[in-house]
């Protein structure tokens, strides 16, 4: 019964919270309208979800978000330094191929987004079988080290969250 009204409780919760933040204050009226949206939208969109990701490890999600936020700040400073102080001729742009241990499409999507937001790397393509990511580095004298760091820092945590 609950599963029929709330096919996706996490999506419902997200919609309610996002609605509160969009109207920018909390009152009974906005809460009720947020709940209506949170119930109706998942019901209407349910046929389009390919899958429902299962989140295993909530503490790890917090850790992951903090690590990524910190890395985004560091990434900004590193890239700004590269732009300002490295001559174009002494830069080492590189393509690297990252073999994936992750299998969940949602986890791979989060990993690709994270790679783009963090130090000097942009995820550019995924293999047709979903087993590797193609990443472009702005300045990577040692591409293997970049690959190992991505696997160690982000993929390991995502694996604990999603799989």
């Amino acid at each position: 019964m609950i599963a029929r009204i709330l096919p996706h409780p996490l999506l419902t919760l997200t919609l309610v919270v996002v609605w509160q933040m969009l109207v920018n204050y909390v009152s009974l009226g906005t809460l009720v309208f947020g709940l209506i949206l949170g119930i109706v939208i998942p019901l209407i969109t349910a046929p389009y979800w390919p899958d429902r990701p299962r989140l295993k490890n909530p503490a790890m999600i917090v850790e992951f978000i903090l690590v990524v936020l910190w890395d985004i700040v560091v990434a900004n400073i590193v890239v700004a330094k590269t732009i300002l102080f490295t001559r174009n001729t002494s830069m080492h742009p590189a393509w690297i191929s990252i073999p994936l241990d992750l299998r969940t499409p949602e986890a791979i999507t989060v990993l690709a987004g994270t790679i783009t937001m963090t130090p000097g790397t942009v995820s550019s393509d995924v293999a047709a079988d979903g087993r590797s990511l193609l990443v472009h580095c702005l300045d990577a004298p040692d591409p293997d080290a970049v690959r190992d760091e991505i696997k160690q820092r982000y993929e390991r945590r995502l694996k604990e969250i999603f799989e």
């Binding site: 990434a75 900004n76 700004a80 191929s97 690709a112 393509d125 995924v126 293999a127 047709a128």
Partner: protein, 135 residues
């Protein structure tokens, strides 16, 4: 700015705004300075994040200091920015891979099938037929 803020509050706001401005400027400068389309993609996805982020933090602090209430709109802007920026970058990178990049310059993926952007429709159909028969 309004007179009902203390000096230190105005200084904090100013620091955030100036930092944000510098990062925005550096990101835009990177677009001119970097040598090719792939490296140019790095400048707006990174340096600008902190540029926009700094302005948003300053805006939140301003409403908290001057009006005494928390504003959540800035958090929503951050969230939507983090969702959309990587997708835009991904599309730009893929378009560039298609048109400009020598396919031999790109390392091969770990599995048997090529990068999704390089696989022809014909090869994809055959591979998916094989996968569905195997399953």
């Amino acid at each position: 700015m309004s007179a009902d803020m203390a000096l230190w509050q105005e200084i904090v706001l100013a620091v955030f705004l100036v930092t944000a401005g510098i990062f925005g400027l550096v990101g835009s400068f990177g677009l001119i300075k970097l040598p090719d389309p792939m490296t140019r993609l790095h400048a707006p996805t990174k340096a600008t994040t902190l540029g926009v982020g700094g302005v948003l933090i300053a805006s939140m602090l301003y409403f908290f200091f001057a009006k005494g209430h928390l504003s959540f709109h800035e958090l929503m802007i951050t969230l939507f920015l983090f969702l959309t920026a990587p997708i835009t970058a991904h599309f730009l990178a893929k378009a560039n891979l298609h048109t400009d990049v020598n396919r031999d310059a790109v390392p091969p993926p770990a599995g048997d099938r090529p990068w999704a952007g390089f696989e022809s429709d014909e090869a994809r159909r055959i591979a998916e037929d094989k996968a569905s028969k195997g399953a």
